[in-house]
């Protein structure tokens, strides 16, 4: 109640009742004093000023967002709904395929180098793929690229 009193939130009647109570109650007077001191402490936090060109920066941000939205809207709806997701999925698939193929190739180079059958083609590859192994994706890549002749 004292917090609401000090914040000016009470009706005139409630305010008067509290005032009467404060006359008779030292504890509440002490509490109210503390609230007032706290209020002064909080007022130490001074306001900051709005930085120059605030409006310009807000407008620039709005323009940037609109430009982004417009760029997406240039594409017809069916392109956004079909070509983009299918293209993204194809890109992921091709990336995985290429990575797998390269990984397997380097792994073979390293194996060949270790067995001494061919010169060491790439020490960097040997280091990078030291922990590599021939997984199912590698085999799948081979099958896809050379019809499984390498198996």
């Amino acid at each position: 109640m004292l917090t609401a009193f000090s914040d000016g939130e009470l009706t005139p009647e409630a305010k008067e009742q509290i005032s009467l109570h404060l006359d008779a109650c030292a504890d509440c007077r002490h509490e109210l004093e503390e609230l007032n001191r706290l209020s002064k402490e909080l007022d130490r936090l001074e306001a900051v000023e709005v930085r120059p060109y605030f409006m310009t920066r807000v407008k620039q941000r709005i323009a940037d967002r609109q430009a982004k939205r417009a760029a997406v809207k240039v594409l017809p709806g069916w392109v956004r709904r079909t070509v983009i997701p299918v293209g993204a999925a194809a890109l992921v698939f091709l990336t995985a395929l290429t990575g797998s193929y390269l990984g397997r190739t380097v792994y073979r180079w390293r194996s060949s180098a270790e067995s001494g059958s061919t010169p060491n083609h790439g020490s960097a590859g040997s280091i990078l793929f030291d922990e590599s192994s021939e997984g199912s994706l590698s085999r799948f890549t081979d099958q896809l690229l050379d019809g499984g002749k390498s198996e």
Binding site: T3, D7, E41, R44, L45, V50, R51, R61, R65
Partner: protein, 185 residues
Amino acid sequence: MTPRPQHEPDCDAGLARRVANGDEAAFEELVGKYQHSVLNTIHRYVGNHDVADDIAQEVFVILWNKAGTFKGNSKFSTWLYRIVVNQCLQFRRKRNQALVSLSDLNDENPPESLQVSDDPERRQRTYAVQKAVAELPDRQRIALVLSHFEGRPYQEIAEIMGTSVSAVESLIIRAKAILRNKLVR
């Protein structure tokens, strides 16, 4: 308590309707009118001027884009401050960090951004207040900032925060109890 800012809600509602129709002049008027109080509310919540500036810009971008959703059921400032509070809470969720910018507060010395005075004692005291406010739980801090610094009545804070007046009063009582223990006693 800091003086209560004076707003004219009826005029603001008209401006908001014009903003919804793409009126840039009305938008500039609303930004000009509220930028200081919006920035300071956010600053007192996040405790960092750069972050506050960024969030304040975002608030006004939302105003531009969503002005059409303001139906006039509440005061314009209540609607705008709902955006402010949501953006502040969203920032907290994203960053999941304490405020005043946070790592700075573990230090005994005030960061540069808080060095508001040449008097070292006053500076330390201001820093202690800033730190104590920053450590309040989110909802207590928002209620306190809106009440003490923005001078918003409990009823409006309740509408902004989507809660009851008694809940707002309770948040403010708890916030002040924590601050009294840290700063006054």
